[in-house]
Symmetry: C2
């Protein structure tokens, strides 16, 4: 035999790599870098599976997580659920084989998608302690539970069952898994405790019990009795498909012709769109999909992209929803008493690479949150908290790259802004683009980045609006205080000097104030009240009779059935969250009070209420805004006239009485004192 | 047939996931999130393979990278090398199959280890453009090159060869790969240009030619003619092995008994250590490895960990080395003219999970680097630049978590420090723990983090030493300037007033200075000089005869063969980089000049030279330090006496002459003027 050439020698070393051994050598990719992260990843994978299973079995999830100490370096993790259980024959595959699962090929939102997580935990436990994972699982139709002890053989990527048995179990169905692994327990930012707390925020329908190694038992009770609707499987959407992907779909399709392929294998294409695609591409519809070559599929793709189509169905997604986001945040943040909860933002679904996704954002401001620290960013993907790899995550990067100065927060370029803010961002998708199998960070794809930016911007705008309203209210309050304190004192002193009785100042104060003031009061102080009320008080601090109309814009859920008001509203549009009230005449110094009652269970902050007033121009209005153009309501003639008069008066520059004593005018940038009406 | 139960229905959906489809759906994990990153990843994977191949073929790498525009959205990437070529039968596996390669199972440092990279690029190209990858490869023994066009079939994870041919090629051996992919070309921080520039820094033995889409051609010429030694394969080291790993090794071993297993399957165990392990574990050495059960392997592992062993052999690693790190940095950073290159730090190899690794650090300070920006961090792993995922990388995190205030840099807690610094960190390992298959960030394992921290701290200490020396030198310079300018002027004026001739001030200046000053001058200005010289000048600005001895500590490579000095040194220790000179008597105002010549090709900055002087106490020494204790040299009696005298004199507080005119004394915190010796 001739001696091997160099190329031959190198070739003799080239061989296929077992996926099991690949992940064994690269366990950090799966989230098992170090003992404390390994613990978190194990808890997370088991717990995500448990909630997914219960939801698939249509029962409200009940999850028990128990961590106990075995030796100084080893912990035992037990996770038990009330899911439908796993058939005996599938237990070795589900727990002892990487890349095996039920959710990878189904195009819908799920926590687990890769078929890697729990097997990776079994692999890590075996590698570090050589202890088999103990699984107990019972399906409803079986009288007893199956018990299997197994290890993962990395060379073959399959389970090595070391023991099996059957045992009685008091649960009708469910699964319990026990792993012994090299791990370290700690509380803090990246701990199982934080993970479970976060899980409770975004899964208010789950009940979670957590037992720590020292015996501390924490229960997150169910905050919502409703199981979220099960996300439906849908085929890929044509917008966002790449040429090669379409090519493969065509080659693998079981559709007998192109017409059928377009109808069955893709989503979002109605009958009319099918005809349009066929016509644009010059196809008859009878072509055999598998016969498509490069050029023909290119033509088909172009036709698909040019044809307008329904946006992807959101049925494959299970977003949390604005109401539950807010409720979840309130649950957790009660203790810091934030002054402002932004109305949560839920973007309409978009599509990336054929997969629909949705971005939801919640924002909380003020209270006891520290104002000299970077904001707290809570990241979630498919209802799972993301605790590691914050720096690598598209969510963090997008938030850090926004210009937060325009929203009133300090920021070092490229860093998270500084301020008393908690920002929650949830990305839900049939396929979250994680940066690694450890599923701790979302990759930066353009579509996703744009949606996150838009959603966060909307929440930030709400925050800015709140801040500028607060400033205006504070200034108005200051003005009131100053005028009501100083004028009487001056009057008293002057009267004393000239030895005359102190005059009644009401009219004078009114003329100096020269505004219609609007105050909102919540019932935040008394949370025991069954139906929280909000009161709006209008006071006419001007010298004229004021014809006034009040308009409110409220969160949609607040104007649903159960909304009442005293006096009664003129119209309520639950679609828009808009409420109008009849015309009102308000004499100088008179007050009008509106008492609103929301549907039970809702809580509205004063900031949730957008208040608009017609009949008073902006310069003479405090605590509310003039009615914006998009309301498109017809105002009574009296109102229009009054507003015009007022504007003419305001436009005429006049020296301001009392400007020396109170210097709020410059700050407000408008004339607020006028004597000439 | 009875209706399926829920568990059965769920089970029917559970199935194995094809690795090809897994990565197809999760292409962001492989570094193909978006068109510009996809381009970089493609260039990187092809180029890493090229350099690896050339090194394995023991030729100096020659790599051509050419990017050209196909359509608005599509680019063509060509990468060609002079490696040994690939056998025809292996081409489909190497390029068209994920998890296939030659370096995964070999325990040595290599750029590519996973057998995923280039196949992932082929997969992405096919998915986005449906265009087959074109491969030309020639091995030396074949008369012509093989040409193969192929796609990656993700369902089967194997190549689909669509065309093949044979063609003449003027190269004796090499490989050329052409991919057409959806991509976007840009320059800037995360671009192919930056990647290739970084590659040139840490691979000075490679010649790289880059042609951009607009035709711009850049060539990084070879800066070193030496191929780095080929890293050798070694078995895993026992320290750092986990129980489960040892268990698996035992079960899979082909050794016929434990004695053989310990000797052949593990590295770092000498004959004596084998006996000690057997004795400690109570083994005879004749046990069959495959028969080991949990408890016995646990005992074996304990014995292995308790037995002292040789540190892992560094032969499996190929670090860059301090000299080439510095040369690489100088190559690239010439334009910013840094004032200081820290002596690069190369830590001794450590072991993590049985795999040796080494951390190297280079640091550059000042010049035209911006001082109000975060430092530039250049990350490398196995001689490959890491451009993405900076925030997720253990290197970044470790640097950011250090306290940089103590080294004189500003820093916001938890962020990279701010200052005119470029920091290069290179991690070389038989198995770099990347956070994902995209190999852009290193995971945080404890051992690695500690080594990075120690290496960066050492470089940072050098920087601080430089800064404090600079401060001291600046202060000394200021003192010289002031005294030499002001005193003569005062003398002139005074002489004018009293109408007497201006006196000679040399002695007065000397008495005021009262120091021995040491200056170092490099030959930085004249790079054409074949043998750069460094000059050290000692001047006795004191009123006494000074017996003085000069000692130098230099970078090790500077004292190798080729080092000369005028006057001749007394001793040179190349092991320690230490040079001593004979005793010298220096009269007041006398100078002594030492001219040093380094081995050709070396360039030394003044800062590379640590200068120590014996015979003068610290208070009377400028520009050098007293000899530290660890030199352990025997000083002549005259010197010891002189130093003692000086210390006694310095300890006596005396009013300082001329203190009113020059206020440098307070700044230096010591008495520098004394009249009483």
């Amino acid at each position: 035999m001739p001696p091997k050439s160099l190329a031959e020698e190198l070739a003799s070393k080239q061989k296929a790599i077992s996926i099991g051994e690949f992940f064994e050598r690269n366990r950090q990719i799966l989230g098992f870098d170090n003992p404390s992260r390994a613990l978190l990843t194990t808890v997370k994978e088991a717990c995500d599976n448990s909630i997914d299973a219960a939801e698939e079995g249509r029962v409200l999830p009940e999850v028990l997580v128990e961590i106990s100490k075995v030796t100084e370096e080893r912990l035992k993790v037990v996770v038990e659920d009330n899911g439908p259980g796993i058939l005996r024959k599938q237990i070795p595959n589900v727990f002892g084989r990487l890349l095996y699962g039920s959710r990878f090929y189904s195009n819908r939102q799920a926590r687990g998608q890769q078929g890697i997580g729990i097997s990776a935990a079994v692999l890590y436990a075996g590698l570090t302690t050589a202890t088999p994972t103990h699984i107990v699982s019972k399906v409803e139709e079986d009288p007893a539970a199956n018990v299997v002890d197994l290890l993962l053989d990395t060379q073959k990527n399959q389970a090595r069952v070391v023991k099996e048995d059957v045992q009685a179990w008091d649960r009708p169905h469910g699964t319990r898994v026990e792993l012994v692994l090299k791990a370290r327990y700690q509380r803090g930012r990246q701990s199982p405790f934080e993970y479970l707390k976060g899980t409770a925020i975004v899964n208010p329908h789950a009940r979670i019990v957590f037992v720590e190694p020292d015996g501390t038992r924490t229960t997150w009770e169910r905050a919502s009795p409703d199981l979220p609707p099960l996300a439906k499987e849908i085929p890929p959407h044509p917008h966002g498909l790449e040429l090669g992907e379409l090519d493969q779909m065509l080659r693998r399709s079981s559709a007998k012709n192109l017409q059928q392929f377009l109808t069955n294998d893709l989503s979002g294409i109605g009958r009319r769109a099918v005809s349009e695609v066929l016509e644009k591409g010059g196809f008859s519809g009878r072509e055999v999909p598998a016969s498509f070559t490069g050029e023909r599929s290119e033509k088909l793709l172009a036709a698909l992209k040019e044809t307008p189509m329904a946006t992807p169905s959101a049925e494959c997604l299970s977003p949390i929803g604005p109401m539950l986001i807010k409720r979840g945040l309130k649950n957790v943040l009660g203790a810091v008493r934030p002054e402002f909860y932004s109305p949560p933002v839920s973007r309409p679904p978009k599509v990336h690479a054929g997969c629909p996704f949705v971005v939801e954002v919640g924002l909380v401001y003020g209270g006891e949150l520290p104002s000299d620290q970077p904001i707290q960013l809570l990241r979630f993907a498919n209802r799972v908290p993301l605790l590691f790899q914050q720096g690598a995550c598209a969510i963090t990067q997008t938030v850090a790259e926004m210009d937060w100065h325009r929203y009133g927060l300090e920021q070092k370029s490229g860093a998270l802004p500084v301020g008393p803010v908690i920002l929650l961002v949830h990305v839900a998708s049939t396929k979250v683009p994680f940066t690694s199998e450890a599923k701790e960070a979302v990759a930066q794809t353009e579509d996703l980045t744009r949606e996150i930016e838009l959603a966060v911007q909307a929440a930030a705008r709400n925050m800015k609006l709140h801040l500028s309203r607060r400033t205006r209210r504070d200034q108005a309050m200051e003005k009131f205080t100053i005028i009501q304190k100083i004028l009487p004192k001056m009057a008293e002193k002057a009267s004393g000097i000239v030895q005359k009785p102190v005059p009644d100042l009401t009219r004078v104060i009114t003329r100096i104030m020269d505004v219609v003031a609007v105050e909102v009061k919540g019932t935040g102080e008394d949370p025991t009240k069954a139906s929280p009320k909000t009161t709006i008080i209008l006071t006419n601090y001007t010298a004229r009779n004021r014809p006034i109309e009040l308009f409110l814009e409220l969160p949609l859920e607040a104007t649903k059935e159960g909304f009442t008001s005293e006096p009664k509203p003129e119209t309520v549009s639950p679609d828009l969250g808009r409420v109008t009230f009849p015309l009102l005449k308000l004499a100088p110094n008179a007050k009008a009070t509106y008492t609103l009652t929301w549907p039970t269970g809702e809580e509205l902050e004063p900031d949730d209420v957008d208040i608009y007033v017609a009949g008073v121009d902006e310069a003479h209005l405090l605590g509310a805004d003039p009615l914006p153009g998009d309301w498109d309501v017809r105002l009574p003639a009296a109102l229009v006239e009054a507003a015009e008069d007022a504007q003419i008066a305001a436009a005429r520059p006049t020296p301001a009485e009392g400007e020396e004593e109170v210097d709020y005018d410059a700050a407000e940038g408008k004339e607020s004192v006028s004597d000439e009406e």
